[in-house]
């Protein structure tokens, strides 16, 4: 029990460290950007109309006051941490005066949904197939599946997404290639809306799954093929324990332990994938929001998004770490 406590403490420390380092990188980088939100706004606001030059000088002044972008680095750093702690990042500069948090909460559900669905499918399916493939070495269909999955594994998310876009958007246009749901449909748990959301998520999810599967598949397969020669498995077979039971409770059960750690470690990468996928399929998540925010030179929004994504990912990792001991009784502070 004390081992568990120590373990948790350690993981939590790690969690704090990740968040801290991440935040600082984000802060430093965003504040090094030469983009000036005020100039961005003015440029955008006056791009087409006819505005006299003195007017612009005046506009610049009042926007500076409005956005409150004056002040040195340290005060900004301090206020940044204050904001992180209360998860309020002030008003967005490219959608002033709407608070950043409002924009993020609007987009976050889409990304989180996308991630949870695709990651679950990927991880479960990948481990299941991988486990079977490792256990039934000479099953043809599994061999083939393995080859296909491994073919996709090394290809970057963008390329896979692009291929899907071309196939289902252009050559055989049966699936929506943009947006998160049908236009002008009332949001809620109505079957139409849910169905529409599902339909729009097929391609993004598919691209994430296709890339992801291979890793889990191979990991699980090699793990399993090592575990089947472990004493306890051999012994169980000598003991005439049913094959299904052996596969489940002896082989898979033991192989899952490292795979769960693997999941925690790869969440960051998966998140990157989600951002790119959203960009390709115009999915209304935080990926698209982030990129447009960077374009608009909107510090506060970029900071908010980076912060939220780092915290979100780390929390997910922490959650997995906490569940880990349930899976492996031999928990020790690693």
């Amino acid at each position: 029990m004390r081992a568990y406590a120590a373990y948790l403490l350690h993981r939590f420390g790690q969690f704090l460290l990740v968040v801290f380092i991440g935040m600082n990188i984000a802060f430093v980088v965003t504040h090094a950007t030469p983009i000036d939100p005020v100039e961005q706004s003015i440029a955008a606001a006056t791009a087409f109309g006819s505005t006299s030059p003195e007017a612009i000088a005046m506009m610049r002044q009042s926007l500076r006051e409005l956005y409150g972008v004056q002040g040195g680095l340290w005060p900004q750093y301090a206020s940044f941490w204050k904001r992180v702690l209360v998860l309020d990042f002030g008003p967005s500069l490219s959608a002033f005066p709407t608070p950043v948090s409002a924009l993020i909460w609007r987009a976050l559900p889409w990304t989180v949904g996308l991630l949870i669905v695709s990651t679950t499918i990927t991880w479960v399916l990948g481990n299941l197939l991988g486990g079977l493939a490792g256990y039934l070495r000479d099953n043809r269909s599994l061999r083939v599946t393995g080859l296909v999955l491994m073919g996709f594994h090394p290809i970057p998310y963008y390329i896979v997404a692009l291929l899907l876009l071309i196939v289902f958007g252009h050559l055989w246009p049966v699936l929506p290639i943009t947006g998160g749901a049908q236009m002008n449909m009332a949001r809620g748990w109505s079957p139409e809306f849910v169905l529409s959301v599902l339909q729009h998520s097929v391609l993004p999810v598919l691209s994430l799954v296709l890339v992801g599967l291979g890793g889990w598949f191979m990991g699980m397969r090699s793990l399993v093929s090592n575990i089947v020669s472990e004493d306890y498995v051999v012994y169980a077979e000598l003991g005439g324990v049913a094959r299904g039971r052996i596969l489940r409770s002896y082989v898979m059960r033991n192989a899952l332990v490292p795979q769960v750690t693997g999941l925690a470690m790869s969440l960051g990468g998966i998140f990157n994938g989600a951002i790119i996928t959203e960009q390709v399929f115009g999915y209304p998540g935080i990926g698209a929001l982030l990129i447009s925010a960077v374009h608009a030179g909107d510090y506060s929004l970029v900071l908010g998004l980076t912060t939220v994504s780092i915290v979100a990912v780390s929390v997910a990792v922490l959650a997995i770490d906490m569940l880990y001991p349930l899976l492996d009784p031999r928990v020790k502070v690693a």
């Binding site: 006819s50 007017a55 987009a107 236009m183 209304p284």
Partner: protein, 630 residues
Amino acid sequence: MKRVLKGLLFGALMLSIVGSVVAQELISNVPRKETLIVENPEGTIKNAGWFNIWAINAGGQSTGLHQLAMDTFWYIDPNKGIDGVWDNSLASEKPIYNKDFTEMTVKLRKGIYWSDGVEFSAADVLYTVQTHLDTKGLRWSAPIQINVASISAPDPYTAVFKLKKANSRFHALFTVRWNAMWMMPKHIFEKAGDPLKFAFNPPVSLGAYVLNSFDANGKWFIWQRREDWQRTTLARFGQPGPKYVAYVDAGPPDKRVIAQMNHQLDIIHDTSPEGMFTLAKQSRLSRAWFAGFPYAHPDPTLAAVIFNTQNELLKNRDVRWALALLIDIKAVSMAAYRGAATISAIGVPPTGTHAEYYHRPIEPWLKSFEIDTGKHKIKPYDSTVGKQIADSLRPSLGIQIPDKPEDIAKAFGMGWWKPDPQAATELLEKAGFKKVGSQWMTPDGKPFVMKITVEGEGRPVMTRAGSMVAQQWRQFGIEASTVVAQGTLLERRAAGDFDAIISWSVETWGGHPDLSFFLDSWHSQFVAEPGKPQPLRNWQRWAHPELDKIIEQVRGIGFDDPKGIELGREYVKLVAREMPSIPLMSYNVFTVMDETYWTGYPNAATAPYTDPVPNWGNTKYMMVKLRPRQ
């Protein structure tokens, strides 16, 4: 085992079924036949629920908001207009100035109502102007506070502006060319508190449409024709056709093309030339401004290679001219537009009514115009370039290429500067440059580096033009390359953070010969210190006493005074001699309109009544011309 695998296969099958079989209507609860679907080039609106257009880019504006729900005194059409270029919208007549241009009186139409049934009156005008006087940081606060001393309303249908100083162009502030200062509903805003923090959701409309619904994630906005559309200014031209208008984020160019091929996007705002050609070939009912090549609508905007004339090397006119003489406009037109460009040699876009006011009258002068390379004089102008482009395209495109000179001029432009590397060499040497091996060196012996800033994916066509210009300079031995400033271009342009930039410092009314729209801001009084942000539009940061003289004279005369045209021509000759930026072509926009559901779109030949480019506030006039396809 087998069972598990079967299960997996089944799952995959279900997935694809969810996808394919349940193919739905594009928009739910709105009949497609009564809906016009338009691309909003702003893409996804971060802050969808914000309709207070008077707060500086807090939300979207070409989401249909300023096309369908806003209105103000006057509109100037970039093309011919429904009846004339000038339209009195909320005003019942043209602006009335006193003789020294220190007071402007506006007569308002009667019987115009807000969508919530309140009548529009001078009270709203007063409120709008007063609010901008009292509040800092509203979109039009600055120009109002600079110009307006006071405003009064002798009667509910008259507004009188007392100006701080003479300004013969003050009405421009209320004259829609893309947009202008819109009227605020007094009865809403006066209850709303701080006008900077008020979202104005749902918007109360002064136009013929009112908001029906919108996407919280900012991907689409659907507007609905007002029951009482007769009580809006548009009613003078009859009933608007579409019952619903949807402004949507159509994604990247190829997705737009796909969408229109599947008749899910009636108006594409802009696409690549290749996309345009594809639609022309494959989509039977897709239409563009020109029935055939070059298809695109020439916006009254002059795409140019804009130099930063504060940059040491580029202060010298000879250097600028040398660089100009290295450009083969035919290749640039090819690279940027596949030939579908309307070129212009002079500092005015070759569009709308400008050709007859400027390009044609000025051509004799251009033909005789000489520059001195130091070794000898050359006549750089070649009046046949437009024809050459047409001829070079005719073999591949055949009949759709016009052969009547005036048609060619309309489609491809008239003449341009002929490439003359010899003269360029002489000019550079005159300026103290040296060629060492294959590499040009600056007077102080460093390699001659030119970085051309382009916007990248934001404006593919301009990016392509930039790369071609860079290539031509490079081939001459100048170390030239392009720099992508996606998203940051506007700011870098203002900051003067470039050697040369592909952009536009010349934008005009299009329909009206007056040039003050951009020219006034070229006065040397506005040129910023190097490194300081330059107010629009003199991006080249170029000052010249003769120019200042011209501008000051323009300020002194009326908007419609024919003398304005004379002064305009003076300006044209001046910039031709000085070459502060190299004019390339008009900004041609490939707006593609699908006639599957709607007909009556504007076009160059038979219905040039307005600009089809849908993010223009002026496109409200399109609605009354659109009719469902029979």
